[in-house]
Symmetry: C2
Subunit: 388 residues, 2 copies
DNA sequence: TTAGTTTGTCTATTGAATAAACAAAGTTGA
DNA sequence: TCAACTTTGTTTATTCAATAGACAAACTAA
């Protein structure tokens, strides 16, 4: 409670170093003079801080730039390969992983199906999977700075998976298990949260302040980015908008509530409705049928889009966000649902809120979560830098 | 965009001064030695900063405290009467105002009915109303530091009332009008937002990090306090949870959506249902009937409570807050709706989210908004202090 | 009365940012 | 080609807030 950081000279230096580093990240390549200009810091201060960053192998000089009528500037850039990050998307029946540099550029990528479900069995697959990604990392001053993992379930602040219904997990201390094995920082979060982070950092939500990422797969999960940061509720989990009741007296949901959004707008809802109409098969087959011009399937998809729109209108009224991004598997249905979603949204959301909002689809497709997981550990690395 | 505050010694001093002032506000009366102990700042630093605060008339010495075996400490306290704040609750048919000191203690209070609706007519009532509150302020070093106003409508970041349906206002530049008249800072916000602030600071939500204030009056408005601060969406307004659709194919709402929560759980919904059952009259009469033991009216109220619970379950699933507070007029129905709300909430919200959440009723009753409005301008005063 | 404790101030030191001077390295125009 | 001007980045002296430690004042306790 009374853990206030008091101000001293070291704090000033940390603040200004962060400002300089962020300027370089934002506008590289950049000279010391230009940094002084854009940050407002004195030239001498910038010189001194840049020297520290160079000593710490975070920044390097890459030769001279073009003169604007005087001495040529020495250009600086961030050393993106000063360290690497591992991102893992732990799905119900697959495992996806990337190794990225500190900028998020993918260096290595792996995918494999996952048949195990018991936590210990999953660990036994996950450990070598991660180890092989780490082994791909080139030598670098900071090495692999951390592992980020997205999981399909509720995660508490200690990194335990409290509940993952589709994997039948309860109270699984995933973070502990992994950080003991690898001895580097491990960050665990919900699949929708890391997906939101991925799209915000590398995808269609770049630079946005307030956005809601709607992960439409078997169920519906949501990741909230409010005031530029991932919102977690008081217990560390939140954003269960899939269980927002959109039909107060609708079908009962396994969560205990009635008429939950995901009962009407998820992949599962689509498949069930399709079966009732005599279309067995999975999402791929339905999309193929729609592509081939099957009117019934197109109607079905439009219906799902309409219900997606109902929930998204609620989201827009609640959060007044800059963007709502539809991601995960259902984003592949974009051509067949986009119009229905957009139309319903416009009919239902408040006019004032509609003005500023964009309806987008995930730019990273199936990689939103895995990239967000990598970003999770990159962001933690930068936070540690700032704190020390 | 590139308006970064760089770090220098002045910043340190501002940070540490704020730390010292907050320590005094939190634990007064307090000695310099104790401040040094709880903040971690050096004794000499504390002495110097306290002297500045004394010079600025924000803090004063109030004599010696009890010795613990050595020299007696000189106790310090915040001078709550260093300045005053005006809070206004501008209702559809009433005007409520308070004059408070910098701690929020009410020095003067006024209420009067409001028959006017046209903006200019309202201004002509509002100006003398505020002037009379200001005239009650004793002489003080900072004088009246600002005016906070809560209004029943959408407010943009410039302090204009974009849309207040029940007053028939559109694009009314309220802040401009008042700050031109009084020449002191004016802050305008939505009634539910200031109500949330009032309950968070002075009422049942004291010290809570994440809470949702549900203002149930003619309609339903909501104020969101997330990560200790009032959440505003991208356009500066948000939290229109009254227009959350809880019946996707329910009654059409004037907002364009269908099945909006406020159509089923507001005072207006109650009165309409009562009329259908042959009970004309207003909320007071219904509450009196319930009090007198009228079973039909009690059932009616329980029904409203149930629908309130439906929406609050959604809120809990969305935000995983520490508390949900029911305020405004309907909070007076607490004895007749509390059980129904609680029961529905427990049936419908996710188990994990239910664990940490408290269902509360506004402690300030009808004064949540007016006290929050006063707090709005007090908080702005402290922010200005920190910035200079 | 004396020894020990607590409070709050004073003094010298540290370290980060800064303005100003400056050297180095460039451009430009006659 | 050269003198005048520009731009870059470093060096130097100064300022200012925080700090440790010394210290005086005020008190308790035995």
């Amino acid at each position: 409670m009374t853990k206030t950081t008091t101000g001293d000279q070291a704090l000033i230096k940390r603040i200004n170093t962060a400002i300089v580093l962020e300027a370089i990240l934002r506008e590289e390549p950049l000279s010391r003079a230009k940094i002084s200009e854009v940050t407002g810091l004195n030239k001498a201060t910038v010189s001194s801080l840049v020297q520290d960053l160079i000593d710490n192998q975070l920044v390097r000089e890459i030769g001279t730039g073009v003169s604007s009528g005087g001495r040529k500037p020495v250009m600086l850039e961030f050393i993106s390969t000063a360290g690497y990050s591992v991102g893992i998307d732990l799905g119900v029946n697959y495992l996806r992983g990337v190794l990225t540099d500190l900028r998020g550029a993918v260096v290595a990528e792996r995918r494999e199906p996952l048949s195990a479900s018991d936590p210990d069995d999953v660990f036994n697959v996950l450990r070598p999977f991660i180890r092989s990604l780490i082994s791909e990392a080139p030598d670098s001053p900071f090495g692999v700075v951390g592992i980020g993992v997205g999981v399909p379930g509720l995660v508490d602040s200690s990194g335990s998976v409290l509940y993952a219904p589709n994997m039948n997990w309860r109270e699984v201390p995933l973070k502990d298990a992994l950080s003991r094995t690898f001895g580097i920082p491990v960050l665990i979060d919900n699949e929708a949260n890391v997906g939101a982070l991925g799209e915000r950092t590398f995808g269609s939500g770049r630079g946005v302040s307030n956005m809601v990422y709607v992960s439409v797969g078997i169920g519906i999960g949501t990741g909230l980015i409010l005031q530029r940061t991932l919102y977690k509720g008081s217990s560390g989990f939140s954003g269960e908008l899939g269980h927002l009741s959109v039909e107060a007296h609708g079908k009962p949901c396994r969560c205990g509530n009635r008429g939950c959004w995901e009962l009407y707008a998820s992949e599962q809802a689509l498949l069930e409705q399709a079966r009732e109409l005599g279309f067995p098969g999975d999402l791929d087959e339905l999309l193929a049928a729609a592509e081939a011009g099957d009117e019934k399937v197109r109607m079905l998809l439009a219906g799902i889009g309409e219900y997606l729109g109902v929930g998204i209108a609620n989201i827009v009224n609640i959060f007044n966000p800059d963007a709502v991004i539809i991601g995960n598997r259902m984003s592949r249905a974009q051509p067949w649902i986009e119009d229905a979603v957009g139309k319903t949204l416009e009919e239902r959301a408040l006019n004032f809120h509609l003005r500023g909002v964009q309806l987008l689809f995930a730019e990273l497709g199936g990689r939103s979560a895995v990239m967000g997981a990598a970003e999770l550990s990159i962001a933690a690395f930068f936070d540690r830098l700032k704190a020390s």
